[in-house]
């Protein structure tokens, strides 16, 4: 009789490692990384067009925008590509013919994508912190009266913003895996995932409006949207930080728990759907 096979974090790590290697050797990851870091660094050059906002606020806003936009694109495209390519190229055939659980495959792919997203967030947030620190230092020399109480930027909050965005990107990647686990093409996975991400960003509208709507289809649809989809506005803490206010630890903790819960739900759903899939 064959030896028993247990669920193995080591196998998940091996699959994750391969996923990271594939992402790093793909040009998309490097291109997005360079583009995002370049945009953050370039924010210094664009400060002439800040329409009256302070320079530091402009750089912070611009940096947060670059991290959020490119991170969202990276989360959807990388998750869909790295997962679906295994099915489309039939490399999953060889891998799943080994003593590998479907759950290990999904979790391994997710863990790999999560590491890639973490690399992205570390580099881009690091670039943003560096640019802000240097610019603030320069301004402190030019106009020291504005900095009598020390530096204005809450760097800890900027880093916390990065961490929270990573959690959001990870939830987006898990959501994309849900779609990819039953999709027939990579394009379908990417398009549907982006649409769902858009709905999640607008979910707060449904949450606010469903009670105001009369009975009927519109109210039902709004209630469904508000109940099923997560509210990605929970992760939108950038405005407060850009305005020079520190992030409230309670808000940070609440958003992290919210993101973690949806992440777990999406992963469980992706595993369930992928178990039923014929390779």
């Amino acid at each position: 009789m064959s030896a028993s096979v247990r669920f193995s974090p080591a196998r998940i790590a091996v699959i994750a490692e391969l996923t990271v290697l594939e992402a790093v050797r793909q040009r998309l990851f490097g291109a997005l990384l360079v583009l995002a870091a370049g945009m953050i660094a370039g924010a210094q050059l664009l400060r002439e067009f800040n329409f009256g906002s302070s320079e530091l606020k402009f750089i912070t806003d611009f940096g947060f925008g670059a991290v959020t936009l490119f991170g969202t694109i990276l989360a959807v495209v990388t998750a869909a590509q790295l997962f679906f390519a295994e099915i489309e190229n039939r490399t999953a055939l060889t891998l799943l013919a080994k003593p590998v659980f479907r759950a290990e495959f999904v979790l391994g792919k997710f863990a790999g994508v999560a590491v890639v997203l973490a690399l992205f967030v570390v580099v881009t947030t690091g670039a943003l912190v560096t640019v802000l620190w240097m610019r603030e230092g320069a301004l402190m020399e030019v106009a020291p009266e504005a900095f009598e109480r020390g530096r204005l930027v809450h760097y800890g909050s900027v880093v916390a913003f990065g961490a929270l965005q990573w959690l959001k990107f990870a939830a987006i990647a898990a959501l994309t895996l849900v779609v990819a686990s039953f999709a027939n093409t990579n394009l379908y996975s990417v398009v549907i995932s982006f649409l769902i991400v858009l709905i999640c960003h607008l979910q707060y509208l449904a949450q606010e409006s469903w009670q105001k709507l009369g009975s009927g289809l519109a109210r039902g649809a709004a209630l469904l949207l508000a109940s099923v989809f997560p509210n990605f506005q929970m992760f939108s803490v950038g405005d407060r930080i850009a305005a020079g206010q520190p992030i409230d630890p309670a808000v940070l903790g609440g958003s992290a728990a919210y993101g973690g819960l949806y992440l777990a739900v999406f992963l469980a759903l992706a595993i369930h759907l992928f178990r039923r899939r014929e390779i």
């Binding site: 009789m1 064959s2 030896a3 028993s4 096979v5 193995s8 080591a10 196998r11 091996v14 699959i15 391969l18 290697l21 594939e22 050797r25 793909q26 190229n89 039939r90 490399t91 055939l93 060889t94 891998l95 799943l96 013919a97 080994k98 003593p99 590998v100 659980f101 014929e278 390779i279």
Partner: protein, 295 residues
């Protein structure tokens, strides 16, 4: 224990339908198939395209669910991951992670299969040498030829030293030289006592490698038996004679008739185009030092 529970592979009443449309239209890929592959056998799975060979293999490996019936490997249901512990699989037209080098690919699968970390590097080097890709081990798979991809595929299949190998069209699309090289590797695995399930269109190669074959057509088993038993013409013998004067053929025939036999034909023994091609293009794979270690 019954023959089925002793079997390396047991397929019992397997039927597999694929849903073609949301209206419930289905196509039957495998229809009531039952097979038993005994340990140590080299079993050929033959049939035209669409006969259900690859589907049967997928169900056996747990990659697809049976509609009816069951399959098992060494007595363990294919539905359980542990059924695949002692199995190496080379899929049809293997498409590996092309961004990896040959060594990286084999190392990846060795780690997935739980090859001991202490001997991982040595084991990977052994099997790469065994398939004759030592010099190309550091090259990306995207630069490999079709035959090299099949050989590195064989390396990943044997890296954890499984008892059962399932090879789906291992020589598909490979030139005669590459095909013969892969054939020789399979013969070495056979000599090591591995159980091999081989799906192939190359009937001459199957005849030379397999102990037993099953022929499928439209998902059904149409013939099964030992290769020797199926291809040997019973009651007939062939003599290969050197230096016989053609005028003496008549005398020989008369001599045979007098003893109750008959000379049915006198013809020149023929070689094969495959052999001529290989002899003129490249020598076949030489036995390598890794042969013994790869066991």
């Amino acid at each position: 224990m019954s023959p089925a529970t002793d079997a390396a592979v047991a397929v019992d009443g397997l039927t597999k339908d694929y849903l073609l449309s949301v209206r419930g239209l289905r196509v039957r890929a495998v229809d009531g198939l039952s097979l038993v592959v005994q340990p140590g056998q080299v079993f050929g799975l033959l049939g035209p395209n669409g006969s259900g060979k690859s589907t049967t293999i997928k169900v056996v490996l747990g990659l697809a669910e049976p509609t009816l019936g069951s399959t098992s490997i060494f007595g363990v249901s294919s539905r359980e991951a542990r059924s695949r512990v002692d199995v190496g699989y080379l899929p049809e037209n293997p498409n590996f992670h092309r961004f990896l080098s040959g060594r990286e690919l084999v190392t990846f699968y060795a780690r997935v299969c739980g090859v001991d970390r202490a001997r991982l590097r040595d084991r990977v080097d052994e099997v790469i040498e065994w398939v004759g890709l030592k010099d190309a081990a550091s090259r990306r798979l995207s630069t490999y030829s079709k035959g090299m991809l099949q050989r590195i595929g064989l390396a990943q299949a044997v890296v954890h030293d499984p008892r059962l190998l399932i090879l789906d069209e291992p020589t598909a699309g490979v030139d005669p030289v590459g095909s013969a090289e892969i054939g020789e590797l399979i013969l070495r695995l056979k000599a090591q006592g591995k159980t091999i399930v081989l799906s192939s269109h190359l009937l001459a190669q199957v005849e030379g490698l397999c102990d037993r074959i099953a022929i499928l057509n439209r998902g059904r088993l149409v013939l099964e038996g030992g290769v020797d038993e199926l291809v040997t013409e019973k009651g007939r013998d062939a003599l290969i004679v050197e230096g016989l004067d053609p005028s003496l053929a008549g005398d020989l025939r008369a001599w045979l008739i007098a003893r109750g036999a008959d000379l049915v034909a006198v013809e020149k023994p023929r070689t094969t185009l495959d052999r001529i091609f290989r002899d003129h293009v490249a020598p076949s794979v030489a036995p390598s030092a890794g042969d013994k270690e790869a066991r």
